[in-house]
Symmetry: C2
Subunit: 513 residues, 2 copies
């Protein structure tokens, strides 16, 4: 189903990476007691004579994405055996207290940024061939001859990004809280901006449409690297699944291809496929790029057509029994029906605008009718008069996600929407949010409902708490009740620099300036 024309345009737009040489900021010692890690300064790494079992921990001062090189030298007799080294890269200190070989979680431990190498000739220069995402690097001497000690010198990180900080639009605020949130969000965005917008530079290192949508919005307020958005949008449109639905993510290597395996072979999510419309809408509003609108429009329409097949006679989205048919949030207990209804309404509003721009009045009218049907059904069947909120699924589940997405979809507006969102968190038995991704849409819904104070408060509470936990970049997952929680079976595979968490810079710059 590859569209070679769109693919060629996408590939031609892929950026070159900027390289920055980053030196070690300090050598440190880490001590862990219970859940608390103390970081203490240590003697500079290049003054240490290392023997078997010795370790050094290097702090690069901030989160980096790049390539490591160093010189290995010896003190003592001539090096008469190879040196065997282990490298452990960590975005957060806690990772250094876990071991890849002990990891038993369901995600592949091949993501853990550990590496072992043998170096035959000392002195020599060593450059690790793989890219790592990290702030800390622990180097352990697994084996060395008794006849010499190892000295590691000139450790350098060649950091890479397609974002160039010289292009960064300044953010003028005297509010230290906002300044910090903006800074960390931008670092998150910056380090995820590689050849494509990656979801996380540690894991999965590839282009997901859910992350792309948020990255694109953050990009318009910061680096304005709009060709990168265009390239990524074209990649999705060029590489649909066999049924023409947009995939949830695409691979660039070994050759551009859609992922065939999201949710056990389904290949996408209901909401993710629709977001190509939303990305096109945001991009077109930002750039007025008519060529892109015309190139992507057919694909965008197709996604609505496919989504509309799930709309029943009653105007409600039919939630499938297939696990993960719609993403919404990393919460397997969440019923997705009402949220999906909101997503389709949200996207239809954008599609109506695009149809009007492109002059397709027939389809514009069709979308308006569909929207009305969805609107009516949402307020007739999903609104619970007793609970005073929307419910989802046959068990009439109440969740923050359902309210947020139906607000974003325009099912409820103005003061009613504001009241709904202000009250929902105080209800009992409400399914909460587990990912910054869902928090993003909750904050967005608050802003759309003119609950800006609460939006800022929630943003400060949630993302600010990551800051308090020592975040250099915002995380893929964060539970304020249990900061070291991992759905993967160990923090060692968590991604602590994750694109869908970069929204604060978008919100702050667009709505709180």
């Amino acid at each position: 189903m590859k569209n070679q024309v769109l693919l060629d345009k996408a590939l031609a737009l892929l950026p070159k990476l900027h390289e920055t040489e980053v030196r070690v900021a300090r050598t440190v010692i880490m001590n862990k007691e219970d859940d608390s890690i103390r970081i203490l300064p240590d003697e500079d790494y290049n003054k240490k004579l290392l023997k078997k079992g010795d370790k050094i921990i290097l702090d690069f001062g901030n989160h980096q994405v790049g390539y490591i090189s160093m010189k290995l030298n010896s003190v003592g007799f001539h090096a008469d055996a190879p040196v065997w080294l282990k490298f452990h890269f960590a975005e957060q200190p806690v990772e250094l207290f876990e071991n890849g070989k002990d990891f038993e979680g369901w995600i592949s431990s091949s993501w853990i940024e550990e590496e072992e190498i043998h170096v035959d000739v000392i002195p020599s220069k060593v450059k690790l061939s793989r890219r790592y995402a990290f702030r800390y690097l622990e180097i352990e001497v697994l084996a060395i001859s008794n006849n010499y000690s190892l000295v590691v010198e000139d450790i350098t990180c060649t950091a890479v990004s397609s974002a160039d900080d010289r292009d960064l639009i300044p953010y003028d605020t005297t509010d230290e809280n906002k300044k910090q949130l903006d800074k960390i969000a931008i670092r998150t965005l910056h380090n995820c901006m590689q050849t494509v917008f990656e979801d996380g530079p540690k894991r999965d290192r590839r282009l997901w449409i859910g992350d792309l949508r948020i990255q694109a919005l953050a990009n318009y307020e910061t680096y304005k690297k709009n060709d990168l958005v265009k390239a990524c949008m074209y990649l999705f449109a060029a590489l649909p699944k066999s049924d023409e639905q947009i995939g949830a993510c695409v691979f660039l290597e070994p050759k551009p291809a859609v992922d065939d395996n999201v949710t056990d072979g389904q290949g996408t999510f209901f909401d993710y496929a629709l977001f190509i419309v939303s990305i096109l809408y945001d991009y077109y509003r930002e750039t007025d790029d008519r060529e892109a609108l015309e190139d992507i429009w057919a694909c965008a329409k197709k996604q609505i057509e496919i989504a509309a097949r799930r709309v029943g006679e009653d105007g409600l989205i039919k939630g499938e029994d297939v696990f993960g048919w719609c993403f919404i949030d990393w919460n397997i207990s969440l019923d997705k029906q009402a949220s999906a209804q909101g997503v389709l309404m949200y996207v239809l509003n954008q599609a109506i605008y695009l149809a009007s721009e492109i002059g397709d009045s027939e389809i514009e009218e069709e979308y308006r009718e569909l929207y009305d049907k969805l609107y009516t059904a949402a307020n007739r069947y999903l609104w619970d008069e007793e609970e005073c909120c929307y419910v989802s699924g046959k068990d009439r589940q109440i969740s923050i996600a359902s309210q947020a997405w139906l607000v974003l979809g325009g099912a409820i507006e103005g003061i009613y929407a504001k009241k709904l969102l202000e009250s929902i968190e105080f209800k009992e038995n409400v399914q909460g949010m587990v990912s910054p991704y869902m928090y993003h849409h909750y904050v967005d819904a608050l802003i759309q409902s003119d609950a800006k104070d609460l939006a800022l408060e929630k943003m400060t509470e949630y993302w600010g708490d990551m800051l308090n936990q020592g975040a250099d970049t915002f995380f893929e997952l964060y539970n304020p009740m249990n900061p070291n929680e991992s759905p993967y079976g160990g923090t060692i595979v968590n991604s602590y620099c994750h694109a869908w968490s970069c929204g604060p810079t978008y919100f702050l710059r667009k709505y709180f300036n």
Copy 2:
């Protein structure tokens, strides 16, 4: 103390390596019960779908020294995480039942041929950058995504050697025993012939003079790659220690340098330094290369001058208290005095010939006098009338090494030498031999004493027993009483292809044709 003229000549003579593509002979399963390992055929590796924890063992059919490349492919969904692989190369099956991380011996476990790699992109081609010595390769999948299985294809070893089998002189014999011993000795020599004559391609991978002397002799009967001998001889002569004594071994990388650390900083052995004379003698007899004789002669004389400083008024070598002042054998209980006396006498006989060739009659006369003094002292002070053999040191230790070297040095000759060697092994409290290196000189002494039948018997017994143990190449160390013995604390660091063990091809072709 570097002699740049000799060094430049040496470097100019270093050979290019021949490459041979070797394919996997078979995929195998290994089962170990007690000390016995059973090797069974397995399904071909490239038909296996590998998941986490799966292993394949590849048999390359013979001992190889080279570089490994392969293709990694996937079956299932698109590869969505790196694959983390462990490679364990083994010269002998027993090594695969040990683990580098568990090794606690005194030698560096960095020699163990284990490697871990992460491969980010599947399918892809992988080439390991380091050289390995092995017949067997175990590949283990340490981690992989649940969404695909790994298929390993086209595993190839690019085997390297400076020996070219097209140059190999045929060995005509119908004796299957001799043919087998010759074949394994030649494979040993072949795989140690790299840019220099290495001691062992697994460990230490460098040029030791004790091994070189035996390799050169084997080379004259087989590949006649005499420029390689010349290059190696020049390297030693060009890179003496600061006192002008020849070092025990030299490094080529990162730049040519003598090892400063044999026996705790002494940098050489008494016998090893003298062997530059012996190597020059053998080389000159083989090639008539007058240039080499003139280039190396000064260095050769210097070694005798330095060694002669240890000769007391009584004509006996003074054995030092420094551990390992003289090598002779890998036997720390062995008293080296008598053997050292024999080595100096052996070398003097060769030096007298060279002095005569070069026309230095003064030094020739000096050497003759020194020889006579050593001869007289050996038979006056080291011969024990009661024991009817030579003794060594203040404890008058009896050893096979002392007899063998004093025979080789000409202290005893003809029928007396033969009787001495024939009887010595039946005495009580005799220090035996532990290395093929000392066995080599014992066999040489038997041949020089016209005990050729016994020489062949001993050679067949010792090297032949390695054959019976499944040797593809001859080992660094072999104790017939305990085939898996290792002085290093584990067979995993043993070198099973070791140059000083290649003598059988020299003896067989020269004396048993």
